[in-house]
Symmetry: C2
Subunit: 258 residues, 2 copies
């Protein structure tokens, strides 16, 4: 069985990594639409169109499930993709929310993400729908560039984490959702600073979701990663996440003409 994953960039490789670890025999095809990153500042219609294009390309590999490893696309295009495709489509929001409401004891949940994700309130609304929880959100625009700079264990990153999370911690949250696919790389640093927080990592939540529904991913273990535009900065992060699997350049026109 094979699975497709797409993201506007390559942060979603944290999901690719987790799914690969959990289902080593699965064929996994990843598409990072790096030529059009970020989706966060595009209109809803554009995001849906881009998402359909990514999904269609991955369907060409005969995928049997699709993961939207991008918060913006999950917030805006999940429903359309679920309606128009014949295979299961999973976003990053729901699995994270499910875990967080299971873990929290004091019903105070923190959510961190990009400005676009926080502004969309997709986590907040989804959590509040499920019961009487308090949600505290914080946009952390410096986290993505810090991760892409490879400054994972850096003193500067530690200071930025404290700067951003101080308010949430003061509110008394006991559970924190990492609402951006880049953030799992900062999980250890955050946990070291705030050892009493339960941290929900969407990539692990998605792997767990497939485990829970008893999906069996058996295949030849083929792993492919496509990007629509190259950049030196992608290479560093890619190596950190998935080692020597090559990045294959895909012409954007191939995506749009489908």
């Amino acid at each position: 069985m094979s699975i497709g994953i797409f993201d506007s960039g390559i942060g979603g490789l944290t999901v690719f990594r987790e799914i690969s670890r959990e289902f080593p025999e699965a064929d996994i095809y990843y598409l990072g639409d790096t030529a059009r990153v970020p989706y966060g500042n595009k209109s809803k219609n554009t995001i849906i169109r881009y998402s359909l294009e990514c999904a269609n390309y991955l369907l060409g590999f005969g995928i049997e499930a699709l993961i939207i490893a991008c918060n913006t696309a999950s917030s805006y295009a999940l429903e359309t993709l679920q309606e128009s495709l014949d295979i299961p489509v999973i976003g990053v929001v729901e699995p994270g929310v499910e875990l967080a409401i299971r873990y929290t004891k004091n019903r105070k949940i923190g959510v961190i993400g990009t400005q676009a994700t926080v502004k969309s309130n997709s986590y907040k609304f989804s959590i509040e729908e499920k019961g009487d929880f308090q949600v505290f959100q914080k946009a952390c625009p410096l986290f993505v560039p810090l991760v892409e700079e490879g400054m994972i264990d850096h003193k500067i990153t530690e200071m930025v984490i404290k700067e951003y999370l101080e308010d949430l911690v003061k509110e008394g949250i006991d559970t924190l959702i990492l609402g951006c696919t880049h953030y799992p790389l900062l999980k250890e640093s955050i946990q070291r600073i705030y050892p009493y927080l339960t941290i929900v990592d969407s990539s692990k939540a998605i792997a767990l979701y497939f485990n829970n529904i008893g999906t069996e991913f058996k295949g030849r273990g083929e792993k492919k990663i496509f990007i629509t535009d190259e950049s030196h900065s992608f290479e560093k992060l890619k190596n950190m996440l998935v080692g020597n699997i090559p990045l294959e350049k895909l012409e954007l026109s191939k995506l749009c003409s489908l």
Copy 2:
């Protein structure tokens, strides 16, 4: 006389601010194409098309000179715009380069910018064309988000500056070009840490350029700022740079249909 300025985002407001200070009577029209920011990861043809669209919109105000306050657009679209428009078109690269080669004593010039700017080598090539200079470049991807977070005088920013500039300083540069329109906001912090560096700020270089050619900007002093997409983060930086001049939202379709 009136002048048009465009940028992919609102960093170019540092140029708007400088030109406004230098020519308070000028009518100045600024267009930040925030719906399509960043230009840095687009193809050359796309960047030229976007730049022509921005220029055409501003021509509607009867501007008599155009400043491309965006490094990417300056690198890729300057020539096309100069050829196709009947008014003077000035990019950000040349004025900065002119100043730097005038200031440097040891002929060792540092250039900092975004990854796209450094990769394009536009400053490096332009400086080397003018004589026997050594150019040392460094991409500083954290500077833009730090500025947009308003963390101008922050301890974290000071550490990031040292982290990025250490290598250039070790190479013995005596002059540093701020090759990104966001960076003038960090100029004081950089100068405080490295008081012996001569820092070239493109926005000041452009104002100086107009002064040198004896341009007279007389008008009603009208100032207008248009953006193609709104974002909370723009507002903070805009206030820092130009105070209470409002951001006027412009439909992207208006730009594309010209």
